[in-house]
Amino acid sequence: MNPLEHKISEIKEKKIYKKNFCLLAIKNNFHYTALPGQFIHVKTEDVFLRRPFSIAKYSDKNLSVLFQIKGKGTFSLSRKNPGEKIDIIGPVGNSFPYEKFKGDIVIAAGGIGISPMIFLASVLIKNKKKFSFFYGARNKDLLLDIFLPSGKYPAVVSTDDGSKGEKGKITDKIKDYIKTGKIDAIFASGPYFMLKTISEIAQNANIPCYVSMENRMFCGTGVCQGCVIETAEGFKKVCTEGPIFDAKQIKWKETTYL
C-alpha cells in the first residue's frame, strides 16, 4: 500500500444530482497514485469525526467523491463550493484485485455503491479487461446511471420498482447472468444486504467475489481498531485491511454493522 498523505486540497467542481447526491472534484495533490476501491477520509464542519468516501473518479489532475447526502456530515460537505479547501487523508485502504483475474469480471453496484465502481470500471477499460456492469437501485431517484463510464461493455441497469431500466433486484439479474457463461470474478459495492446476497450467489456458483465494506470509522488509518468487522481470520479493520474483502472471508450477519 502507498503511504498515507494528509492534504489540504482545493475543490475544483461541485455538482448536485437528484437533490441528494453530490459530486466533489478535488485537486489531486497526492504524491502517490490511488487505486480503485481506495477511499479518502474527509474533514468537514458541524460534525466531529472525519467521513470516509470512496474515490469515484481519478486522474492526475483531480479526484472526485460522489456521495449521498445522509446526515449532518454529508450535508455540510455538500455545501462546500469550488475554490474552498478541504482537508483530506488518503488514499486509504486496499483495492479491487482485478489484476489477478484474466477473464470476465462482473461489476455489481447498488445505489450510491456505484461510486468506487466508476473508478474501477475506468481502470478496467484502460487495462483492456473484459467486464460487465450491473447497476441497480430501489427506484430511479436513487439511480445514478449517468455515472456509468462510457466505453464498450455490457451494462444492465435495474430498479426494484421498474421506474427506470429493467425491473427487479440487480442481484437477481446477476444470478441469471452468471448462469450464462464463465465469470472469473465478481466485484461488488452497495448496501450490506446486497453484498451479502451477492456473496451467497458467488459462493454457490463458485466464483471469487470481492466486496467493498463499510463501517463507522474514527482514525481511518488503521491505528485505532475502531472499524473492525468479523472475518474468518478474526477481526479485520475495514479502513486498512479493507475496504475490499474476499466475500468468503466475511462473517455475514443478520443485522448490519452500521
Binding site: 503511504p3 498515507l4 498523505e5 494528509h6 474533514k43 460534525v47 466531529f48 469525526l49 472525519r50 482537508d87 487523508i89 463501517n215 463507522r216 470509522m217 474514527f218 482514525c219 481511518g220 488509518t221 488503521g222 491505528v223 485505532c224 481498531q225 475502531g226 472499524c227 473492525v228 468487522i229 478474526g234 477481526f235 443485522t255 454493522y257
Partner: protein
Amino acid sequence: MERNNIPIKIRLGKIRLDSPVIPASGVFGYGDELKSLIDYNKIGAIVTKTLTIKEKKGNPQPRIWELENGLLNSIGLQNIGIERFVEKKFPVIKKLKKPIIVSIGGDTEEEILLCLQYISKRIPYGLAGIELNLSCPNIGKNNLISENAKDTYNIVKQARKITSQFLIAKLSPNAGDVGEIGRAAQQAGADALCAFNTFKGLSFDWEKQKVLLGGVSGNAIFPLSSRLVYQLYQNVSIPIIGVGGIHSGITGLLMILCGAYIIGIGTSLMLNPQIPDEIIEEIKKYIKEKNIKKWEEIVGFINDKKRENKLLSDI
C-alpha cells in the same frame, strides 16, 4: 537535536525529548503506522497501543460512536499481545530512533504484572518509559484500579519491584479525588503520571435501540481533564503527562500551564495530524513572550499550588 525549535530542554527521566507533545496510547498503533502522516520531529516519543500478556480480540461492534464534540469508544483493548509486539514490532520502531513508551495493561492486576515481567525480561533497558494502563477493571470491585488509591498504590509498588525503567502510571479521570490517587502512585514509586484516560460515557443507537457504553475523549472533555491535571499537579511532584481533549495550540499550551510536563494527544491527532506542530508554535510564542528559560518554569505556570483549599467546585 532541537528539531522542534523549542529552545528549552525537556527530559523524561534521563531521556531528552525533541518535543513536549506525544501521542496518547491507542491512536498511534504500534508506532510506525503513521510515519507518512505525522511529522515525527514534532513528537517527543512513540507511544504504543496498550499491550496485554495475551493477544486480545477486543469488543464487538460498534466500537466508535461520534458525539457532538467528542468521541465515545469501546475498543476493548484489541491488540496483538506483548510477545508479537516484542518480536515483530519493536525491532521496526526501534529503527525510527525516537524514544519509545510501551503501554501495557490487562483485565486484572495479575495480567498487567505478568505483562510487565515479560517486557522487562525481553527489553530490560532502553525504553523511554513503560506506561501502566490502570484504567482496567478492579476485579471484585465496582471500579477501575486507578479509581482506588490503595489498589493503585499496590500495583505500582509491585510494578516498581519488577522494573527499574521509567514507570508511568496512567490514571482514570473517574476517580473521586485524583490527587489522592496521584499521591498513591507517587509514593509507590511511579516516575511519572499519565493523566488521563477517557471519561466514562454513554450514547444510544436509536436505530438499533442499543445502549453504548464506553470512554469519552476529544474536545468535550478538555475543560474537565485540564481541571483534573490542575488539581493533580497540586498533589504530586513527579511529572504529569497531560492528556484529554487537547485539540489546538491553545489547549495544548493551557494543559502545560495547568501542570502537565508533557502532553499527549489522542483523538485530535487523527482529526488534525498537524496538531503537534500547532501546539509547539503556540508554546514557542508563549516562552518568548514570558521570557522563560527553563521548561519547568512554564509547567504549572498558572497553577498556584497553594490554592488547594479553594479547589472545590463552587456552585
